[in-house]
């Protein structure tokens, strides 16, 4: 059988989502951001919510996310996406609002905003790209940078005495009663991407059902910042990041559930 007989519309099983805009992305080859963008585009299409979606783009490598996913967007100041999303969502309760934030953005400068948006149980989805580094600004240490990991501000590796500890902020988020669904996923293999997509779908559905804040961490690579090849970065991530940031749901409950008693 010839390829041209196979490559026909009726046999199409996988294609770019219509919600993904037809432009080249500025990301480095192999960057996880692209995969997560794809998941979001596909789900916005599948759930038919393009006309009610408002995305909040961060300052970070994903600052241009608004050029890639074809929905209305707001670009937020560094770290403040959860506050921006709060403003949008409170005044527009029928919209689907999500933030898309890096680990520097969410876990460092924006830690107050994310904690409080989640504590208030804002009805939004938070996508948290944890690549353990500040990609955009050239590879500085992030709160989530692993111990010993080399970055441009920890050239001899992160030393916890000087720089503190890699922060499992998602675990803290899960403790907040405002969140209903908190999960940690990855996109380094096809299986992981599919699983991640299921989680994001559930998270979006939660928001559509007004169940409070849904939070999806995606443990990601930044091969540029890590100074590795894309596959090398995926492997390094699986071996080093995932033991510290293990994948899976951290919370799947209803908003308002009290945190561990003590």
């Amino acid at each position: 059988m010839e390829l041209k007989d196979l490559i026909k519309p009726e046999n199409l099983v996988y294609d770019k989502s219509k919600v993904q805009r037809d432009v080249y992305m500025h990301y480095c080859p192999g960057c996880s951001h692209g995969v997560v963008h794809k998941i979001l585009s596909e789900l916005i299409e599948e759930l038919d919510i393009q006309d009610k979606t408002i995305g909040i783009a961060p300052v970070g490598c994903a600052v241009f996310a608004y050029n890639y996913i074809d929905v209305d967007w707001q670009e937020a100041a560094h770290g403040r996406a959860p506050a921006v999303a709060t403003g949008v969502a409170r005044l527009n309760p029928e919209k689907f609002v999500f933030t898309y934030q890096g680990d520097g953005d969410l876990a460092s400068i924006g830690s107050a905003e994310i904690m409080h948006a989640c504590n208030r149980g804002e009805n939004i989805l938070v996508i948290f790209i944890n690549n353990g580094i500040y990609g955009m600004t050239g590879g500085q240490m992030a709160p989530t940078t692993l111990e010993g990991m080399v970055t441009s501000t920890t050239p001899s590796g992160r030393n916890t005495d000087l720089n503190g500890y890699p922060m499992k902020i998602t675990n803290l988020i899960a403790e907040l009663p405002g969140t209903s669904y908190v999960t940690r996923q990855a996109v380094h293999t096809a299986a992981a991407v599919r699983k991640c997509k299921r989680s994001v779908k559930k998270a979006i559905q939660n928001v559509l059902d007004k169940k409070g804040t849904s939070f999806v961490e995606v443990v990601s690579t930044c091969n540029s910042g890590w100074k590795m090849t894309p596959d090398g970065a995926n492997k390094w991530m699986a071996e080093n990041m995932l033991p510290y940031y293990p994948l899976g749901d951290l919370k799947d409950s209803i908003k308002g559930e009290p945190i561990s008693e003590n």
């Binding site: 390829l3 199409l12 099983v13 996988y14 770019k16 960057c31 794809k38 293999t189 995926n234």
Partner: protein, 74 residues
Amino acid sequence: MAKVIGAVVVDKEGCKGCNLCVEACPHDVLNLNKEVNSRGYHYSYMENPENCIGCANCGVVCPDTCITIYRMKI
């Protein structure tokens, strides 16, 4: 048991040659081309098209959504 065959089309210009699809393919269908595209990247292509089962793994992992996948039962 019906056999499934597949094929992929790579958007040559969109591809950044990251190699993730190559790694993700369970049947060694893909490889990076020796040639570069106009943006200077060694783009991915079907080196062993006959092996493709249309599982879409390559498409799913591609960060730049350059892969379209077709499948049919024979």
